[in-house]
């Protein structure tokens, strides 16, 4: 009995796995599958490509640089860093109806929001409303953690400190009169940022939470006064602040400023002349940066992006082309393994 067991123990298991005989699917990529496959994929891609391309073409974009480097540009007078509280007026016209909803972006270039030290320079605990972090900001915020009097800066860090603070007011020039175009500042930041990730401390009034702290050096107003018009839009859940805190991936970027959705402009900006009043505060000249405003409408694929449509068209055509080449090769040389 024992002997038998031993023999059984010694004998290798005769299972499919141990004998490497597991049933297996052995796909063969033969020309018979690949050629039709390529044709199908190619056609599908061309279809998607056309759709993307057409959609992208239908999106209207109006992009105006207002850095004021050129002497004849409207904001030239403000580009000098010494000028404080400079306001300039940008006038432009729209030829035909700018279909809505229109999105109003501001853009910066040669601005490195993805700089490593810059990116790390924030304190997420502070930003989630942790009052302990108000008095002792994280080291990562340095040198934007304490001011020269050793008072903690809230919100600390380079990102918050460098928050974009140009403001825009858009007027429609109707018969020589400036008619204010209402801008909607809601829903420009990620829903989760606004509702979960960023939190004001649960102190009312909000101002009290900021006792014994100072505002970021660059900021004209403390965090609890960011939006004078809407008290709910203050502190860390201010939408402009949230948009700024989501750092851009590349040094040329645009960020959503406002949406134009209200009333008569819900259908879009009618043709006509417009005047954009810019409170020019944000210095970019020192690092050779550019500032611009962008009006754009969006589609199901987002903003205007020709790359995707062209790429799809090219890849789709390549697929079809390759399948044709393969077909020729196949017809000529008759792959021997085809049945």
């Amino acid at each position: 009995m024992v002997k038998e067991e031993k023999e059984i123990a010694n004998r290798p298991d005769n299972t499919a796995f141990t004998q490497q005989r597991l049933p297996a699917w052995q796909p063969m990529l033969s020309a018979g599958i690949v050629i039709p496959g390529f044709v199908l994929i190619g056609l599908a891609f061309i279809g998607i490509g056309v759709a993307l391309f057409v959609t992208s073409r239908s999106i209207t974009v109006l992009e105006i640089d207002y850095t004021g480097i050129e002497k004849d540009s409207a904001c030239f007078k403000c580009s000098n860093a010494d000028v404080k509280n400079c306001v300039c007026n940008l006038v432009f016209s729209i030829d035909s109806l700018f279909e809505g909803p229109v999105f109003f972006y501001y853009g910066l270039s040669n601005y490195f929001q993805n700089y490593r030290k810059y990116a790390a320079s924030r304190d997420d605990e502070q930003l989630s409303g942790d009052l302990d972090a108000f008095t002792a900001p994280s080291d990562s915020c340095s040198p934007y953690d304490y001011n020269s009097n050793d008072k903690p800066i809230v919100p600390c860090g380079a990102i918050a400190n460098s928050m974009f603070n140009d403001t825009f007011v858009l007027y429609r020039v109707v018969n020589g009169a400036n008619k204010l175009v209402p801008l909607d500042g809601k829903g420009i930041a990620w829903w989760t940022d606004y509702n979960v990730k960023f939190r004001n401390p649960s102190v009312t009034p909000l101002k009290n939470a900021f006792n014994n702290t100072v505002k970021p050096i660059f900021w004209p107003k403390p965090a609890y006064q960011l939006d004078a018009s809407d008290p709910a839009n203050n502190g860390f859940i201010n939408q402009d602040f949230l948009v700024w805190m989501r750092r851009a991936a590349l040094p040329d970027f645009r960020k959503l400023y406002r949406r134009i959705t209200d009333g008569e402009y819900a259908k879009g900006l009618p043709a006509g002349n417009y005047s954009l009043t810019i409170a020019y505060n944000y210095p970019v000249e020192s690092f050779d940066g550019r500032k611009k405003v962008v009006f754009s409408n969006v589609s199901w694929m987002g903003g205007k992006n020709e790359f995707l449509g062209i790429a799809y068209l090219v890849v789709g055509s390549l697929c079809v082309l390759m399948s044709i080449v393969m077909l020729i090769v196949y017809a000529k040389f008759k792959f021997p393994e085809e049945d």
């Binding site: 601005y111 490593r116 997420d124 989760t192 393994e337």
Partner: protein, 1152 residues
């Protein structure tokens, strides 16, 4: 007197420290002298490496000695010390994981060793102390203790046998756990020791511990109160080794001489030298390339960073001021830390996990060899054995196969075929018509139907019965007491006559170190002379007339491979002293009277050409004076402590002269099952097979023909003593001449061999076979002048490499290793494989890249020293052609894939530096950086590297030529490596720039919101994970459910993990970077579209390549009818032609 003797010994001891003195039972040999007992180590066996206390430091130290681990440690430390882009966790966690897993594994193994040690060390033993039996723990045994061991117990240390419960002062021992030989070996007590151990006063002088299990020299001085001390020689036959087991003997007493770590068993457990596979060398080379890439990437980035910062406003824009400390730091220090930071950022290009995966693949993969039921041999009830898993892939790279003949190509299952007595040939016929079973078949042509005289016949048969070291096996159920009964049984058999009742006759088991001896004794038995066994130095044989004859065994002159003969000196009842000697013809013929030789030589040579193993038998009478002289000489030589072997050899040679030749025997050694088919397959696979044997040329040559290593049309180039002596000139000159001639023939005139071309069986181009013997080889290797030597060696090598098979006969074990080494170190350093079954093959098994042991009959030494052991030669075919091939393909793909996937992982990160001001900003989140190699992409490749069968096993076995496709490390050369690297670069560029252009406008959602940098990284990472996994899926030719599970599983896991990781605010994270990034990404149609586009675009070239390459690829073989017919060609060849016909017709092909 006594003291003087003692002083002499002691004095000699001072001069020679290589011996030790032991007092039996700690009884000092002289009372009036202060005897300081020398210190020996205790009997504790410590096989464990660690203790609880030193485990952590020692284990860590050992782990970090591995260069890869050390590299990762350095990276980790840099991350801790320098402010680097990624947190130390990203590299610390994988490293910690690897180190911990390894430590746990090693700790567990060590715990097992501790347990095993304790079991051995605490085992109770009986020690005789002052006449009392004392139970002690095994570890307390000291050198000099007298121990008592009972039947079936294991000896706790190396003992000298003093007393046995058996009457004949012997005991039986199996050394199964030492060398795997399960037969019973006889050991002898030291002669003339007193029965009362209590009064025994003796010292033992023996050599210092040494690992050779079969060597031992020592002597014992026995002091008796009133006599001269008696001196007895001690040899391995008196030594009981720790680890062996007492059998068939109730109890023995012995004195401990080597204890603990000094026992031969412990000394033998020292690790073998590590063999490294060619794949590992390739990995190291690739690693170097990747290190260079890594360093140059870091250098490029550092340089560009400082160039870039030089532009005004770039170094420190107002929105990103530096801290005071950063401003104060020295510029060069900053550069250096930047360099280190870049190194850290890109260090994932060399992944820790590759080492882990490779190790796991090798370890787990080797199970498939052990599990393979085709390797299971029902006879020995064992399958294949894997001693090292480091060399799996090497099995797919073999270029030279060195095989032993006896026991490897042949079965080592000896059968007595015929004998020749006094020039007359006798062939045994079953159920012979002759009463005595003897029948003369065809003797020498002119003496048909003649027989040698009866006297000669009987002398010859007695010689066969006496001249051996065979023992009669006592079957286990018939214990000690039944021995007489057994004998009666045998006696009764004898009356019945042979042939009528063969089964009980077969039951009679003989045990011997060499199967030839058993065959001879069994052969003699068929002719009516039965060896009944030993009875305390007396050999009993049952003659044809059913008389029991007793011979006193005086001396055994043991067999050794140099002398190639053995002798016994016996004294018959009538008082005649006889010496019987048997051995190889070459060693017997010069020692017998020449006039007898010729008649027998013919027979011997004929037998040899028929493939039989021949032995010649001679005898001589020793008169009293001669015997006395021989006896004295032998005793003296046996007592010698130094150069005992040489002295014995000299005496042996002196005694074994002037003998008379009686006859010769022929024993058949059958070919192993499917030996020819296996050899043919190996040659078809492009391997060159060399037979290295100690056997004589004719026998070996016929085996080669039988195995079809030599074909009919093979032109044999012979370089042996015979051909050297042909010319009648000096041997050296002739050697030179022949070498040059053969070189011209085989190397210069031969058309260049095209790689990958099957050896055409019928084509005109010539096959060459080369034969060399040991003597000539040593001439080639050790030529008189240095310059000649290297030149001859070169010529010899070149000739051999151009021959399809080479036969080296008359090789000493060391010469076998020499040849292997020579080929191994030749140009191109080909991968060599040695296969053998005996102790004489160990040297070549250890020398070759891959050593294979056959679980044969000559003990287990070869198996123990091998890397892989298989039960039969025929298993070699599957081991190499199927397992080896698959392992190689798997691991090669594994290595290439790993480098590839890490290159396209890190390249986007490198490219991102150009867009983030060279600030070392990581593109991917830390979690992704860490998990990429551990979780997201590790399982599919592991499953692939364990399960892939790009060509199924049957096809691999049927088409040996497929093996050539991967020869010379084909998949890990620079070409494929370059291809994979290029692919990695292409993918990396595609991933990065594809997303880069998408982010030309970061407003990718239909609500106009923009994506940030973590979305960018996540999109790239998603494309990356999907592409590398699908790339593997594209390469997988063998989809088992496991492959499906891991491939789709890890993709699903990635998606699941990303949701999970981004779905929760993790309290332990400083920055919630990925919060809802993944979910937001999926809500964007553009992101979806770009992911699909990039994955497809990356894989398109691959798909095209697969389609276009296929007709020429190895897969074509599966379908082409051409190949299957080639397979069909082989099978008819496989039917063995009659051996003789082939041998003789092929003989004419021999050059000369």
């Amino acid at each position: 007197m006594l003291r003087r003797t003692l002083n002499r010994w002691l004095g000699r001891d001072e001069r020679r420290v290589d011996s030790r003195n032991i007092c039996v039972g700690h009884r000092s040999s002289s009372n009036n002298e202060a005897f300081i007992p020398p210190k020996f180590c205790d009997n504790r066996i410590v096989s464990s490496k660690y203790t609880v206390w030193n485990f952590l430091p020692k284990n860590l130290f050992e782990q970090f000695r591995r260069i890869a681990n050390f590299y990762f440690l350095i990276i980790f430390l840099v991350q801790v010390i320098v402010d680097t882009p990624t947190s130390p966790v990203t590299s610390g966690l994988p490293l910690f994981f690897v180190i911990t897993v390894t430590a746990i594994k090693q700790g567990y193994e060590d715990w097992l060793r501790h347990k095993a040690d304790n079991e051995v060390n605490k085992y109770p033993v009986t020690v005789l102390e002052q006449g009392r039996r004392v139970r002690k723990e095994s570890e307390k045994i000291k050198v000099g203790d007298v121990l008592e061991v009972d039947e079936d117990e294991t000896f706790p240390c190396d003992l000298i046998l003093l007393q046995s419960s058996r009457e004949d002062d012997t005991c039986f021992v199996t050394t199964a756990s030492l060398d795997g030989e399960s037969n019973h070996k006889t050991h002898y007590t030291v002669p003339d020791t007193e029965k009362d151990l209590e009064s025994l006063n003796a010292t033992i002088e023996c050599e210092q511990p040494q690992p050779d299990l079969y060597k031992f020299v020592g002597r014992m001085h026995i002091y008796k109160a009133d006599q001269e001390p008696a001196v007895r020689s001690l040899g391995p036959e008196n030594l009981l080794l720790k680890g062996s087991t007492l059998k068939n003997t109730q109890t023995i007493c012995g004195v401990a001489i080597y204890t603990g770590m000094e026992t031969k068993m412990a000394l033998n457990y020292q690790g073998k030298s590590q063999k490294r596979s060619a794949v590992e060398k390739s990995i190291n080379a690739f690693l170097l390339v990747y290190l260079c890439i890594l360093v140059s990437k870091a250098l490029v980035c550092t340089t560009l960073k400082y160039v870039w910062q030089n532009k005004p406003g770039q170094d420190e824009p107002w929105y990103n001021e530096k801290t005071q400390r950063e401003k104060d730091t020295n510029l060069y220090l900053k550069m250096f830390t930047d360099f280190l930071s870049f190194m850290v950022l890109f260090n994932f290009i060399i992944p820790v996990s590759m080492y882990v995966t490779v190790e796991m693949q090798k370890f787990l993969g080797s199970f498939f060899i052990t599990w393979d039921k085709d390797f299971f041999d029902p006879e020995i009830k064992e399958g294949a054995l894997v001693n090292t898993s480091d060399l799996n892939e090497e099995l797919g790279q073999v270029e030279y196969v060195f095989t032993d003949k006896t026991g490897t190509l042949t079965q080592n299952n000896m059968e007595f075929i015929e004998c020749c007595i006094d020039g007359f040939q006798y062939k045994y016929q079953d159920a012979g018509t002759d009463l005595d079973g003897f029948c003369v078949t065809d003797g020498p042509a002119n003496k048909v139907q003649h027989k040698a005289g009866r006297e000669k016949e009987e002398l010859f048969l007695r010689a066969l019965c006496l001249c051996h070291t065979v023992q009669v096996k006592e079957s286990p159920e018939q214990g000690q007491g039944q021995r007489d009964g057994l004998m009666d049984h045998v006696d009764g058999l004898g009356v019945d006559g042979e042939g009528l009742h063969p089964p009980p006759q077969e039951q009679r088991g003989f045990i011997a170190s060499s199967p030839d001896e058993v065959a001879l004794v069994k052969g003699a038995m068929r002719y009516g002379f039965t060896f009944l066994g030993f009875e305390s130095k007396t050999m009993k044989i049952l003659t044809r007339d059913n008389d029991v004859e007793r011979y006193e065994l005086l001396h055994v002159l043991n067999f050794d491979p140099v002398r190639r003969r053995m002798s016994v000196i016996v004294r018959s009842k009538s008082g005649d002293t006889l010496l019987f000697c048997k051995g190889a013809d070459s060693s017997i013929f010069p020692r017998v009277r020449q006039e007898e030789v010729e008649r027998i030589r013919m027979n011997v040579e004929r037998n040899a050409t028929e493939g039989y193993r021949t032995l010649c038998v001679a005898y001589k009478y020793l008169n009293a004076e001669e015997y006395a002289q021989a006896d004295a000489g032998l005793r003296e030589a046996r007592l010698a402590l130094q150069d005992r072997e040489e002295k014995l050899m000299a005496v042996y040679n002196q005694v074994e002269t002037g003998m008379s030749l009686i006859g010769a025997t022929a024993v058949e050694d059958r070919l192993q099952e499917e030996a020819a088919e296996t050899m043919e397959a190996l040659q078809g696979a492009g391997m060159k097979v060399w037979v290295l044997t100690g056997d004589k040329m004719e026998t070996a040559k016929s085996t080669c023909y039988a195995c079809r290593l030599f074909q009919r049309n093979t032109e044999l180039l012979e370089l042996t003593v015979r051909t050297l002596e042909d010319g009648g000139r000096r041997r050296e000159e002739r050697l030179h001449e022949l070498l040059v001639e053969y070189h011209k023939k085989a190397v210069q005139d031969a058309p260049p061999v095209k790689a990958g071309v099957t050896r055409a069986w019928s084509s005109a181009n010539h096959d060459y076979g080369f034969i060399i013997d040991g003597a000539t080889l040593s001439m080639v290797l050790n030529s008189s002048s240095e310059s000649n030597s290297s030149r001859y060696k070169n010529l010899f090598l070149q000739i051999c490499q151009n021959c399809t098979s080479v036969l080296c006969c008359r090789m000493a074990p060391l010469q076998k290793a020499q040849i292997v080494k020579m080929v191994k170190n030749s140009k191109g350093s080909p991968i060599t494989l040695s296969i053998g079954d005996g102790a004489n093959d160990v040297s070549m098994i250890l020398e070759a890249h891959v050593g294979i042991g056959i679980k044969g009959k000559e003990g287990r030494q070869a198996v123990r020293n091998s890397d892989y052991a298989i039960p039969k030669l025929k298993h070699l075919k599957k081991l190499l052609l199927a397992h080896g091939h698959l392992y190689y393909v798997r691991i090669a793909h594994l290595v290439q894939y790993f480098f590839y996937k890490n290159l396209c992982f890190i390249l986007p990160q490198f490219l991102y530096q150009f867009f983030c001001g060279y600030s070392q900003q990581p593109l991917y989140d830390a979690a992704y950086l860490t998990m990429y190699n551990i979780c997201f992409t590790s399982m599919p490749i592991l499953a692939y590297s364990l399960l892939e069968q790009h060509i199924c096993m049957e096809v691999l076995l049927d088409n040996a030529t497929l093996y050539r496709g991967i020869a010379k490390n084909g998949m890990l050369r620079w070409g494929p490596f370059f291809y994979w690297t290029l692919l990695g670069v292409f993918h990396g560029l595609l991933f990065f720039f594809g997303v880069r252009y998408l982010f030309g406008n970061p407003a990718l959602q239909d609500n106009g919101q923009v994506f940030g940098n973590w979305s960018y990284g996540t999109i790239v990472f998603t494309v990356l994970v999907f592409t590398v996994t699908l790339k593997l899926a594209l390469d997988t030719r063998h989809w088992t459910w496991i492959n499906h599970f891991v491939i789709w599983g890890s993709l699903a896991f990635y998606v699941f993990f990303s949701f999970f990781w981004g779905g929760i605010i993790w309290p332990f994270l400083k920055q919630q970077r990925l919060y809802f990034v993944f979910a937001n990404m999926l809500s964007s149609v553009s992101a979806w579209l770009v992911i699909i586009l990039l994955i497809l675009l990356s894989l398109l070239p691959e798909i095209l390549l697969v389609v276009f390459r296929k007709p020429r690829g190895p897969h074509a073989g599966q379908m082409k009818p051409v190949h299957s017919s080639a397979g069909g060609h082989q099978s008819p060849r496989s039917s063995a032609r009659p051996l003789l016909m082939r041998t003789f017709s092929d003989e004419s092909n021999t050059v000369i």
